[in-house]
């Protein structure tokens, strides 16, 4: 979590410095969700995420260097600099993006799971989406297909209470996500998304059940976005107080406390972690800075495949 936090804090600076352009959506405050869920996945499981996916990419084990280089638009980036912040991809960790259409990744997850089922592979596909995506038809269709066909999909709803400036209550007539899952006959739990231990625990139970043929599961993670929706958001739709209250449940602080109280983490160790992470982040920045630009002549590469035809 710390790595993600510091990585993104740096991204925000780099955006101001115009090293990173386009849209930048920070995950700060929600780190426990991605970290906890990824802990519960196996290397050959698949992940589908949204445009707010830096945390998922790093937690999934992607190299911070290639992620930072991607945001710089360098060819050393995980998508050759073609995707940017919203379109991180990595075949080696089965990270299928980085999808910037709200709800657009859900059908893909259903299909990835269908492939595993048809090939009798015991793999799980975890798909992340915000509570705002629940209003999209693609959510509904995907939930029904996954449940109807009993596919190994883990639906991870990151309920941070807002879709851009639209509060959940102005987006859903029924705000209890688990009831929606029930209407598809899918088992669903509500989880404290600020408590990484709770997230991992819930994810493990769900993943186990999905992997052993229990059909898709739906997890609603109650979380909160500490920063603006993107770098262009004046945040007219919520109060400073609300944000501050949530910050009191900062997932990193919560874990720190717990580990300190349990005597698992000493002050020195904690400080060492900071140093280590800071080094990693700076190494990533250095890597990105040193990166090169994809030759313009390659613009037309990969519109269609180069091999196999």
């Amino acid at each position: 979590m710390l790595r993600i936090r510091r990585f993104e804090e740096r991204c925000a600076q780099l955006y101001q410095a115009e090293k990173i352009r386009g849209f930048l959506h920070l995950y700060i405050g929600e780190e426990a969700v991605a970290v906890g869920v990824m802990e519960a996945l196996q290397p050959d499981d698949a992940v589908v995420a949204t445009y707010r996916e830096h945390g998922h990419a790093l937690a999934r084990g992607m190299d911070p260097k290639s992620v930072m280089a991607e945001m710089y638009g360098k060819v050393e980036g995980c998508s050759r600099g073609r995707g940017g912040s919203m379109h991180l991809f990595d075949a080696s960790t089965r990270f299928y993006g980085g999808n910037a259409i709200v709800g657009g990744g859900l059908p893909l997850a259903v299909g990835l799971a269908l492939a595993d089922r048809l090939e009798d592979r015991k793999r799980v596909t975890a798909v992340f989406f915000g509570e705002g995506a629940v209003a999209e038809g693609e959510f509904h269709e995907s939930m029904n297909l996954a449940a109807l066909w009993h596919l190994p999909v883990l639906f991870c709803c990151e309920n941070n209470l807002y879709a851009m400036g639209t509060a959940l209550g102005r987006s859903e007539s029924q705000t209890r996500m688990t009831l929606k899952a029930a209407s598809y006959e899918m088992s669903a739990w509500e989880v404290d998304g600020m408590d990484v231990v709770a997230v991992e625990e819930a994810a493990r139970r769900a993943v186990e059940s999905v992997r052993s043929g229990g059909g898709p599961h739906f997890l609603e993670f109650r979380t909160y976005r500490f920063r603006a929706h993107s770098m262009f958001d004046p945040e007219l739709y919520r109060s400073k107080e609300e944000v501050e209250t949530w910050k009191e449940r900062d997932p990193i602080d919560l874990l720190d406390e717990r580990l300190t109280i349990d005597g698992i983490l000493t002050g020195e160790e904690r400080a060492a972690m900071e140093d280590e992470v800071a080094e990693e982040v700076e190494a990533a920045v250095a890597f990105a800075e040193a990166g090169t630009w994809e030759p313009v002549e390659e613009l037309t590469r990969f519109v269609y495949s180069e091999v196999g035809r």
Binding site: G77, S79, A91, G104, V110, F302, Y304, S305
Partner: protein, 331 residues
């Protein structure tokens, strides 16, 4: 249309498509068919009749009415190593799946820097002419041809209906196959033994020297009929079947027009900004001095397709209109 020396077999377009699907599923376990009513109902055009019995419900998969999700699931399954054949009942309903096709299938390879190709085949019926009204009579092939990252093919003969599919399935990228609903009952001669055909080049279905009739899919029969009529009045028409709308075989278009110096483009889609416009534009850019007369386009009238037969006929390209356009410019 087919080489007279080879043995041939008479077969309907529908049977040809079915044989192609069956063979593909027999030869490759990764291939499966998914779509609305492809199984128990036997396909709304009876194309997949019998396949459920042969391959079972896992591989001949009836889907709920969820075009976006099952097309997207096809993309995901392709990413997961399968070779899905997704049937969208008709192009009219594909409007509900365009986000998945345009924002995922077409973009994933480029956007991921070459990491994720999508070996997906989507089949859909297209076209009008059966009095099914405006919402069920779209011809949006031109729309699909606009999108980089996908291939668009339009089998017009039983041979292409039978042999484009294996080529499409062996392609690493998304291929959209448009089957004109008016062709399913048509019979044709299938060369024996046949084999996969390319999905990059067009074909001259009838050689001619005075005018090029450029078309594809469901309007090929109309163009051939027009060529016959033109012959009776001493006009030798060449009929070019595009076969593939993306990428367009511009070389062949330019070659034909370069030889005949007259071009009539026939398209059941609307004229404005359709595929007919692209063909005309290619000629205007690359062969304008070859033209002895302005280009003519015979397309559907720019109206929603009406139900009443006489009105629908008036809205669609007809042989008489093709003949008139050709005679006008050949003069």
């Amino acid at each position: 249309m087919t080489d007279v020396m080879t043995k041939t077999r008479t077969i309907t377009y529908r049977e040809a498509v079915r044989e192609a699907i069956r063979e593909a599923m027999q030869q490759d376990d990764r291939v499966f068919l998914m779509g609305e009513d492809v199984g128990r109902y036997g396909g709304c055009y009876a194309v997949s009749k019998g396949l459920l019995e042969e391959f079972g419900p896992e591989r001949v998969r009836d889907t709920p009415l969820s075009e976006s999700a099952f097309v997207g699931a096809g993309i995901g399954a392709a990413l997961g190593g399968m070779r899905p054949i997704v049937e969208v009942m008709t192009v009219n309903f594909s409007l509900l799946a365009l986000d998945q096709i345009v924002n995922n299938a077409a973009l994933y390879l480029h956007m991921s820097g070459g990491q994720f190709n999508v070996p997906l085949v989507i089949r859909m019926a297209t076209g009008a002419g059966r009095q099914v009204g405006a919402q069920h009579s779209h011809s949006l092939e031109g729309w699909y041809a606009h999108i980089p990252g996908i291939r668009v093919v339009t089998p017009a003969t039983v041979e292409d209906a039978r042999w484009m599919l294996p080529t499409a399935l062996s392609d690493p990228d998304p291929v959209i196959i448009f089957e004109h609903s008016g062709l399913y009952n048509s019979e044709g001669e299938l060369p024996e033994p046949g084999g996969p055909v390319d999905i990059v080049s067009s074909r001259v279905r009838q050689a001619g020297s005075d005018v090029s009739l450029i078309t594809y899919g469901g309007n090929l029969p109309k163009a051939l009929a027009a060529a016959e009529d033109l012959a009776t009045v001493g006009v030798s028409a060449e009929v070019l079947d595009l076969r593939v709308l993306r990428p367009l075989d511009t070389e062949a278009i330019l070659a034909s027009v370069g030889a005949t110096h007259h071009a009539v483009i026939i398209d059941e889609g609307w004229k404005t900004a359709g595929i007919s416009a692209e063909i005309a534009a290619c000629i205007a850019e690359q062969a304008v001095w070859e033209l002895d007369a302005p280009i003519r386009r015979v397309c559907s009238a720019e109206v929603p397709i009406p139900y009443a037969r006489h009105m629908e006929e008036a809205a669609l390209p007809q042989v008489s209109a093709i003949v008139a356009a050709a005679r006008e410019i050949v003069g």
